[in-house]
């Protein structure tokens, strides 16, 4: 038994050094040398392309109604949707889902409130736009989710719907290699594109741009 104990301690410490720290350090070395952008969190000037943000103004395309999204504390419309802050989300920088069951009254009420929210903005919502994600920080929406927001964004920014449609088409990604996963639009990239589009057209359009 004592010989087992000695060996167990030695092997545990060796494992901690080799498959713990040495493995992680080597991995970090390779990651930082070959893929520094990805390894550091895919950060652009405006945030991470892999983490959803709160785009609460109608002049931006909205992401999904996660706690980082526009609905969690929208006192203007009286909507309290989004993730349940008691579970996991709502903590700064922490990920998590609402975990509401399929026959949950709370889920039904939240979804109804979100449908009202979108109708209020003149948008006929798709399922993604009234449901929360698994991570609580879903950075993406489907191309259709973006298309249905065009009337809202066009009204608020003055950018022509056809230009917005072209913008969405440029930022739409199909499933990877044509079959892995689903089609998506990265909301941060889309809104960055929208900002560029507006800054290019501002001199011609002049003061017609409204920032609500």
């Amino acid at each position: 038994m004592l010989i087992h104990l000695r060996r167990a301690i030695v092997l545990s410490l060796l494992s901690m050094i080799v498959v713990g720290f040495a493995y992680a350090a080597a991995g970090t070395g390779v990651a930082q040398a070959l893929f520094p952008f990805q390894a550091n969190g895919s950060l652009t000037a405006h945030g991470s392309t892999l983490i959803g943000q709160n785009w609460s103004s109608p002049r931006w395309f909205h992401g999904r109604p996660d706690d980082t999204g526009p609905y969690a504390t929208n006192t203007a419309t009286g909507v309290v949707g989004g993730d349940n802050p008691l579970v996991a989300n709502g903590v700064h920088g922490q990920s998590g889902a609402t975990n509401l069951g399929p026959r949950s009254r709370t889920l039904l009420a939240d979804t109804r409130a979100l449908v009202r929210y979108w109708h209020h903005l003149g948008v006929s919502p798709t399922p993604d736009l009234v449901t929360t994600s698994g991570s609580g920080v879903d950075p993406d929406i489907s191309p259709l989710d973006a298309l249905v927001q065009i009337p809202m964004v066009a009204r608020a920014t003055g950018v022509a719907p056809s230009a917005l449609r072209a913008l969405i088409a440029r930022h739409s990604h199909g499933p990877q290699f044509g079959f892995l996963g689903a089609s998506y639009v990265d909301v941060l990239r889309l809104n960055e594109g929208l900002a560029r589009l507006e800054s290019r057209s501002t001199p011609r359009r002049g003061p017609s741009r409204t920032a609500s």
Binding site: Q38, Q53, W60, S104, G134
Partner: protein
């Protein structure tokens, strides 16, 4: 279309590695691989073990239990002391005692049940130096036990079943580390984070939002988390978190990785016992059950979420609640089935928000005892237990001598197999009964009605099967759930491993019974059907009453909300 191609690619990839990886693992445990002996030999010198010296089953089990106890103690100590340890840029304090205990048990038993949120609880030292280490070590222990049992079938009149220290060292060095490292690079390239630099604060001038982005050495933990059928994520949202599982490709890679070793081990088994046909029979059992469960679950998640439909939004893309846009409902459902039926327990969606039938698919997948294909090693040894019971029942039905691979299945073998098969349902059902009959247990569920009961049943099913996935609405970080859950996990692991090793010892000691006309065939379709029957009858009869109170009621409660 996408689903068909995904399944086709998955099947082709698994078929290729079934043979390649399977024969590699067989060569590894037959002692034919030596290209890393420059690293191996100093390890054995430090351990003071002679790699050619083998152990009896009792010494093998003794070494395993002592090693697991030491792993548990070290993991617990690191979590408690993390406030005083380096690599802690968020200055997180030590983890509370009862949560540290639950977490240490969880990772040592290959369960990876998580009653904590990684990014706000665990320092990088704890994640890398304690939790990820156990993801390698506990996977190696599972594989070692499976191989010891296979040696029991393969050997004739042997008093030993291998050397535990050598088996787990070789598993880590030759199998787990190389694959995990190579696939870790893919995770990073696709966007998973791998840095020790701490969280990043970003400000977006477009919308005025300031965010704190949690980061850490996640990508290379992600690969071993899947490969070792562990499932414990770096972040709270596990594989749903884009910084952990960023794309459709990494999602597919995750599904492949959790299945790769458990499937390949059936080839290893066939190769080592000298009859690949027997390995084919076992993998057929796995594929048929997995296929049936995957079909039902994917179809269920392609339906509308009842609450969302009732709110007037119908969907052509299935149930989107708790799912990530980049994966969609089919990939998420396939991932969920792979994860729950391999005792991995990673999650790229909120399983709590699956449709009632989809949730039932996940839960019942675990209730079959994690054999379709099950965890690394644990899937094979548990399925061999069911195969022994099938041989025994088949033998009784037709009056032939129960034999499996030339070994007589006698009273001792059947008792040990019965013990190993019944210990999990007992642990799960008693713990569930305890939870629903005490106030501290009933305080756990987030959801009301039958779904609340499902959350409790799911929790103990997951922990008793060392799976680790959750209907995560349950508030598990309470003294009750931390302690009862830890006991459940310990029973689900060691009360099966010890009888399995005893079985390995008694089988290895036997000579071979020459095959005769009276021998019941164990490598044909009839035996596959019989084994499937045993799996379904044991799982179904034991758990049907409990399941009826949860997901079945919920499925039938059309138009009602709780």
């Amino acid at each position: 279309m996408g689903l068909a191609l995904t399944l086709l690619t998955l099947v082709v990839a698994l078929a290729i590695t079934w043979r390649l990886l399977g024969s590699y693992i067989a060569a590894l445990f037959d002692g034919r691989l030596h290209f890393l002996s420059a690293i191996e030999r100093p390890v054995y010198r430090l351990l003071g073990t002679d790699p050619s010296h083998e152990q009896s089953w009792k010494r093998y089990a003794g070494a395993l239990v002592v090693f697991s106890a030491v792993s548990l103690a070290i993991t617990y100590a690191v979590l408690r002391l993390q406030g005083h340890l380096p690599l802690n840029p968020q200055h997180l304090r030590g983890v509370a005692p009862v949560l540290s205990f639950n977490t240490a048990v969880s990772f040592v038993t290959n369960t990876n049940w998580q009653n904590y949120a990684g990014e706000t609880t665990m320092s990088y030292f704890s994640q890398v130096g304690a939790l990820m280490v156990q993801q390698f070590v506990s996977a190696a222990v599972g594989i070692a036990v499976a191989v010891a049992l296979v040696r029991g079938f393969a050997r004739r009149g042997s008093s030993t079943i291998g050397n535990f220290w050598v088996d787990i060292t070789r598993t880590m060095l030759y199998l787990l580390v190389p694959i995990a490292f190579l696939t870790g690079v893919v995770f990073v390239a696709q966007g998973a984070v791998q840095t020790f630099a701490g969280p990043a604060t970003v400000h977006d001038v477009l919308n005025g939002v300031t965010q704190v982005i949690a980061r850490g050495p996640a990508a290379f933990m992600e690969s071993i988390k899947q490969l070792g059928t562990n499932g414990g994520g770096f972040f709270n949202a596990n594989s749903a978190m884009p910084l952990e599982n960023p794309t459709g490709l990494t999602n597919f890679l995750s599904i492949y990785l959790v299945l790769a070793i458990p499937v390949a081990l059936t080839y290893t088994f066939g190769k080592m016992v000298g009859s690949v046909r027997h390995g084919v029979a076992l993998v057929s059992v796995m594929i048929l059950l997995f296929g049936a469960w995957a079909s039902v679950t994917i179809a269920a998640e392609h339906q509308n979420n009842p609450a969302v439909a009732a709110a007037g939004v119908t969907s052509h893309v299935g149930n989107t609640v708790g799912k990530e846009v980049r994966f969609g409902d089919t990939s998420s459902a396939l991932f969920a089935v792979a994860s729950t039926q391999t005792s991995t327990g990673s999650a790229d969606a909120s399983y709590d928000s699956f449709t009632p039938l989809g949730g039932l698919g996940l839960m019942s997948g675990m209730m079959m005892g994690e054999v379709t294909p099950g965890g690394v090693g644990s899937g094979l040894y548990t399925l061999l237990i069911y195969a022994i019971i099938a041989v025994f029942i088949g033998g009784l039905m037709i009056g032939r001598t129960p034999e499996y691979l030339g070994k007589k299945i006698q009273a001792r073998e059947v008792k040990l197999a019965g013990l190993a098969a019944l210990v999990m349902p007992l642990a799960v059902l008693i713990a569930t009964a305890l939870a629903v009959s005490t106030a501290s247990g009933r305080a756990g569920p987030l959801n009301a009605g039958p779904h609340g009961f499902s959350e409790i049943l799911y929790a103990f099913t997951s922990q008793g099967n060392n799976n680790g996935s959750a209907f995560a609405g349950l508030s598990g970080n309470t003294p009750f759930y931390n302690v009862v859950g830890a006991i459940d996990m310990l029973i689900g692991r060691f009360a099966i491993i010890v009888p399995v090793l005893a079985l390995a010892g008694s089988l290895a000691a036997q000579g071979a019974v020459p095959e005769s006309l009276g021998t019941f065939r164990t490598d044909n379709g009839m035996f596959v059907g019989l084994t499937i029957g045993v799996v379904l009858i044991i799982g179904g009869l034991t758990f049907f009453p409990a399941v009826a109170l949860g997901p079945v009621v919920e499925q039938l409660a059309h138009g009602r909300f709780f």
